[in-house]
């Protein structure tokens, strides 16, 4: 549905996007996720046409739209702070795009009525946007885009100005609306929870390039780079290095845990330094009799979190965090024996 071919974008010599290739399929919910300033909003704006690319091509439904004005692209954007027209009523806001397309009045009325019903705002059609609550404004902004039945709907951090509770509810609503309308959604956010809960696929962007693209599960369970592992979820990191090679696999040693692992070779070099990662939930307290795949940490502090407790302990210079569902009370520097499963290790290059 949307294809970016080696797209770059410079602002005054500063490279914001450094060559992005991306294909987005029809009807999918794709999220561009990354820290602020990584270029994710710029990627979105090259698709809407609000930003011209420096080099590269943008295809929409197979057609090259690289040099097409935003008015002529069959995509619509939901802006971060909604950008509603406060001088017009809710209904006028929603009709705006249809009128610009010179659609017949009967069709405009039908579509507007339908969408107002879908977002449950029939009673507010004559209200001005600045008289509405944040959630209502959000819905109107969404309706104003959706009513045009665009091929792609672009959403630029649309939930960032809402409070936590409303944000959670809107996440569900957004996903439902996307399923119902079957419109391709491209969603920009810096919030990993939003990305994980709504997306079909996530593209992690850092420093103007895509670090990894895949389903939320793939991204969380099999991060390919240290950045992705760090950005999505919490990571306990252990230094490792390549010891030897054997029939397509590499033997690596993790000194802190005193263990040697065999992993598939990924063109590693001899002595290359790697990072082995365990998620906090993959570490737990071991019984005193267990001998293998264990290590000891000194208890530092714990963070009570409702149904579970996160415990921070120290292993040499590393802080290790793990989760327990039991009620435990420990004094500082008590030794705790922890266990893990070597199959859980995620191995990434250290750079």
């Amino acid at each position: 549905m949307v294809k970016l071919e080696n797209v770059t974008k410079n602002f005054d010599e500063k490279k914001i996007i450094k060559g992005i290739d991306l294909e987005i399929y029809e009807g999918e919910f794709l999220t561009l996720l990354g820290p602020s300033g990584c270029g994710k909003t710029t990627v979105l704006r090259t698709i809407s046409g609000l930003e011209a690319v420096t080099t590269g091509k943008v295809y929409l439904d197979g057609i090259d739209v690289t040099n097409l004005a935003p008015q002529k692209r069959d995509v619509n954007t939901i802006f971060q702070n909604f950008a509603l027209f406060n001088t017009m009523s809710v209904q006028k806001n929603i009709e705006f795009g249809l009128k610009m397309k010179k659609i017949s009045p009967e069709e405009i009325k039908k579509r507007t009525d339908d969408i107002l019903k879908m977002i449950q705002m029939q009673d507010y059609r004559d209200a001005k946007p600045n008289q509405l609550s944040g959630g209502q404004q959000q819905r109107v902004a969404l309706a104003r885009g959706l009513v045009n039945k665009p091929k792609v709907l672009l959403l630029d951090e649309p939930l960032s100005s809402l409070d936590l509770k409303l944000r959670k509810r809107m996440e569900i609503e957004l996903k439902e609306i996307q399923k119902k309308t079957e419109i391709t959604f491209i969603y920009v956010t810096h919030d990993q929870d939003e990305a994980l809960s709504m997306s079909d696929r996530i593209a992690i962007i850092n420093n103007g390039v895509i670090e990894q693209i895949g389903s939320p599960k793939e991204i969380y369970n099999y991060p390919k780079t240290l950045f992705v592992a760090d950005f999505i979820g919490e990571s306990n990191k252990f230094k490792a290095n390549v010891q030897s090679f054997k029939k397509g696999s590499a033997l690596i040693k993790i000194p802190d845990l005193d263990i040697t692992l065999s992993i598939p070779d990924d063109n590693y070099k001899m002595d290359e330094s790697l990072i082995a990662i365990l998620r906090p939930e993959q570490i737990s307290i071991a019984s005193s009799t267990k001998q293998t795949n264990t290590f000891k940490v000194k208890y530092k502090e714990h963070i009570y979190n409702g149904n579970y407790t996160k415990i921070l302990g120290k292993l040499n210079k590393n802080v290790i965090s793990f989760i327990t569902y039991d009620d435990i009370e420990l004094s500082k520097n008590t030794e705790i024996k922890l266990k893990y499963d070597p199959n859980d290790f995620i191995i990434v290059r250290s750079k």
Binding site: L50, Q71, Q80, N81, L84, F85, T87, F96, G97, G145
Partner: protein
């Protein structure tokens, strides 16, 4: 408590100072004495003779023609300029921006004599035309400042939103940006209109024979002898200004109060 009384008295005294000459004029407009000196009794006579004083009425007409024409033109140019100067960058933009402050800061007399000089250089006949041109000259910067204040608090994303929804640059300007800045345009136009009505100094230099505005007419009358119907006319003007200002203030005060409820 004592402090509060002192403060209120101070405020009242300032207002007495501000209104004293106006009240004097209003009172004398009902004075039954031709000499305009001592108050002798109540009369409406001067309001009647006012409507037969053709010189005075003609100068009032000139004032209104100049004020309305210059307000309309300077509001249009000023509004376009405020949007253009915020939206676009171009060579010499800084020069234009600094030039715009000149009519605001330099003494009016300097603007007056410099306009007079170029009109003479260009051999323009001094009259209503040059008056209107001069009033446009000092009004435009005030309109730009008024509109720009509103623009600077505007969310420019709505412009992109309109483009995104398929509106051309022209339609975006007309349907989205213009309605958004209407409050600034209104206050700019009001300002231009009142500045034009109030102007003495620049008009003094740039008018020609036979096109006196009301202030200039009164200026020459004060020197040669003023008739009481001038008091009647000024009373009517003051009333007119008060009504306009009060309605606009009441609307604004209501808005402020509404703002508290929401």
């Amino acid at each position: 408590m004592k402090k509060k009384i002192f403060k209120n008295i101070f405020i009242i005294l300032v207002f007495i100072f501000l209104y004293l000459p106006i009240i004097a004029l209003i009172a004398f407009s009902f004075n039954d004495s031709k000499l305009n000196i001592v108050f002798e009794g109540f009369t409406f006579e001067w309001y009647k003779t006012l409507f037969t004083n053709t010189t005075l009425l003609e100068s009032l007409r000139n004032t209104l023609i100049v004020a309305i024409t210059s307000t309309v033109i300077s509001t249009i140019i000023g509004t376009l300029a405020a949007v253009g100067l915020t939206k676009y960058n171009f060579k010499g933009k800084n020069l234009i921006n600094s030039l715009l402050y000149i009519p605001v800061v330099i003494p009016e007399i300097v603007l007056g004599i410099s306009l007079l000089s170029i009109y003479t250089l260009m051999k323009l006949d001094l009259g209503l035309g040059t008056l209107i041109l001069s009033h446009i000259a000092f009004s435009i910067p005030y309109v730009i400042i008024s509109v720009r204040t509103v623009i600077s608090s505007m969310n420019w994303q709505i412009e992109e939103a309109a483009h995104d929804l398929g509106a051309s640059d022209f339609l975006t300007f007309r349907k989205v940006i213009l309605p958004e800045i209407v409050p600034g345009i209104i206050s700019g136009a009001t300002l231009a209109f009142t500045l034009s009505l109030d102007d003495v100094i620049i008009s003094y230099f740039t008018t020609g024979p036979g096109s006196n505005t009301l202030p200039l007419q009164i200026y020459s009358m004060i020197k040669t002898g003023i008739t009481p119907d001038v008091n009647a006319l000024t009373t009517l003007i003051i009333l007119f200004v008060m009504i306009i200002l009060f309605t606009s203030t009441i609307i604004q005060v209501r808005k402020i109060k509404k703002g508290y409820r929401v």
